[in-house]
């Protein structure tokens, strides 16, 4: 039986990973480990010294509250990187997409293959993160493994949305701009480092449309065995909706850009 074409693309990514895994994976793990140490442990000690913190955060320690947020945010960041660099390289820098479509591979297979590869990569990074966090005593291993699911889902949804946008861009400069003005603010202000209740009242509703905030809520609820801010289905619904739109629009945009 013929292998689905997107899986053939996935195999190509896996082959290239033999050469690139050091740079991409270690980077994706070292960063969270540094954040866990500096913010979770270092700053967390100060936070925990203040009376009433545990009640306000509904968590035993700041580290325990911060780690699941960081998990979701890190996988979002890994997902956005997967949507940026491989797509810009395939379309522009190297042009591998332009040669791949001379084979049975279709533009949508390139999109889906990259997305599937992102699933694999994010799963690995997520699992490794949980083990590191468990070693820090930040997340119990069992609940942590469960908490990887919504964090990884949000990460892959990010890949879909970002790659759908990046495929339409000609200049690589847009990537730096996106990292600065989209990814970093999301990373910082989606309830990752501090509760969104600390944000000014006027800004707070904005988080409702940020998938990462929903991902953080679900990840943290599973890690701490608590309830998320909104009903579970709402959080999941927003992430799934962004993902669905990303996949549908992404497939079309890849086709539109490559089949001209």
């Amino acid at each position: 039986m013929a292998t689905p074409i997107a899986l053939r693309v996935l195999e190509g990514h896996a082959r290239a990973y033999r050469h690139t895994w050091r740079g991409t994976t270690i980077g994706a793990l070292v960063r969270p480990a540094l954040f866990l140490t500096a913010i979770g442990v270092g700053l967390g000690t100060l936070v925990d010294d203040r009376a009433g913190t545990a009640d306000a955060l509904a968590a035993p320690t700041y580290l325990a509250w911060f780690a699941p947020g960081l998990l979701a945010a890190s996988l979002m960041q890994a997902g956005s990187a997967d949507g940026m660099f491989p797509v810009m390289a395939g379309m522009r820098w190297v042009g591998t997409y332009r040669s791949a479509i001379n084979s049975p591979v279709r533009p949508r297979d390139l999109f889906l293959g990259n997305l599937l590869w992102s699933v694999a990569r994010i799963a690995v990074i997520g699992l490794a993160f949980v083990m590191i966090a468990a070693a820090f005593g930040a997340i119990p291993l069992g609940r942590g493994l469960l908490a990887v699911l919504p964090a990884a889902l949000n990460g892959v949804v990010t890949t879909a949305a970002i790659s759908a946008f990046v495929v339409t861009r000609d200049s690589p400069q847009v990537l730096a701009g996106m990292n600065r003005f989209l990814i970093l603010p999301m990373f910082l202000f989606s309830g990752t480092f501090f509760p969104v209740e600390q944000l000014p009242d006027t800004v707070q509703p904005v988080v409702l449309i940020i998938p990462l905030w929903h991902g953080v809520e679900l990840t943290r609820a599973l890690a701490l065995s608590s309830d998320p801010a909104l009903p579970w289905g709402w959080h999941l619904g927003v992430i799934a909706a962004v993902g669905l739109v990303g996949v549908l629009v992404g497939s079309r945009l890849f086709t539109g850009r490559l089949r001209r």
Binding site: I5, R15, A16, S99, N102, P104, L258
Partner: protein, 302 residues
């Protein structure tokens, strides 16, 4: 027919290529060669018209058709993260070729393009000619019935070009149909059984290299160079020979005067009779280049 918005890249071309033939699209930059190739290769939808490749409709049967094609694009687009061998392997997997089949075929192809000793090297340090040969090998990974080559030797040094032509000639001998675009006339003369000259999206001539030369230019060309300021005078004198069988056509270039003639020696006699006294005088056979420049003009087109 191919349109991009208001711009018509391919305005209407009507060609049939037989199996086993080597067919060329010639034309200046922007003539519509690449657009035509991409439509044939089922990676670009046709705006209008009828196109069948290997009996298939590129629009409806793109996946099936591309499985039987080999494509050498203008740019190399090799995967920089992969080794020489892996570039072939990954591309072969795109065709869902079994790993075992791929292993033997990669050995054969690397041998064919003389890259066996570089198989475990990354792509980046390879020379331009080597990269090009690797792209040719990649295009052959699925044992294609038809190979599309878009300017296969542009930017290569003479040795690399000849090495490549030799490989392509061998492919032709094996019965593979070749379709290539080029703006090198020597390449077209070397490789093509038949070709069309394209200009601004239209076909302006069609035939074998020999036929095109016979039809559009004379058999021989005499090139005359004169001392400063003498050329205009010489042209005037030669033009007065209007009706002389020895001279078919004259063309004045900034640096020399071309005399198209059925017989070079006779034309030189005519020049000597007029006592024109050129600085240099050269007789050569008319080439496809003369046809090309005659048909597509001498102005620079971008």
């Amino acid at each position: 027919m191919k349109r991009f918005g208001a711009f018509t890249a391919v305005a209407g071309i009507d060609v049939e290529v037989a199996r086993g033939e080597a067919f060329g699209f010639l034309g200046p930059n922007g003539a519509g060669k690449t657009s035509a190739m991409r439509m044939i290769g089922a990676t670009s939808p046709i705006s209008e018209g009828h196109l069948r490749v290997l009996g298939l409709d590129p629009e409806a049967d793109g996946v099936e058709l591309r499985a039987r094609l080999g494509v050498v694009p203008q740019e190399d687009t090799l995967d920089q993260d992969l080794t020489v061998e892996e570039n072939l392997y990954v591309f072969g997997r795109y065709f869902d070729l079994p790993r075992r089949t791929l292993r033997t075929r990669i050995d054969e192809l690397l041998d064919f393009v003389q890259l066996s000793d570089r198989r475990n090297d990354k792509v980046d340090p390879l020379s331009g000619g080597m990269k090009r040969r690797l792209v040719i090998a990649r295009s052959l990974i699925n044992d294609p019935e038809l190979v599309l080559l878009d300017e296969p030797t542009t930017g290569l040094d003479p040795q690399a070009r000849h090495a490549l032509w030799e490989r392509l000639y061998q492919l032709k001998q094996r019965g593979v149909t070749l379709l290539l675009t080029t703006h090198y006339m020597d390449e077209a003369e070397q490789l093509c059984d038949r070709l069309v000259v394209m200009d601004q999206g239209h076909i302006v001539a069609e035939g074998s290299p020999r036929q095109l030369i016979e039809r559009h230019v004379s058999r021989e060309v005499v090139e005359l160079r004169f001392a400063d300021g003498q050329q205009a005078h010489a042209l005037e004198r030669l033009e007065q020979l209007d009706g002389d069988r020895r001279i078919e056509r004259l063309e004045s270039l900034p640096d020399r005067l071309l005399v198209y003639t059925p017989d070079g020696d006779a034309a030189i006699d005519a020049v000597n009779e007029l006592a024109l006294d050129p600085l240099t005088l050269l007789t050569r056979r008319a080439s496809l280049e003369d046809v090309f420049l005659r048909l597509t003009g001498r102005q620079l087109i971008d």
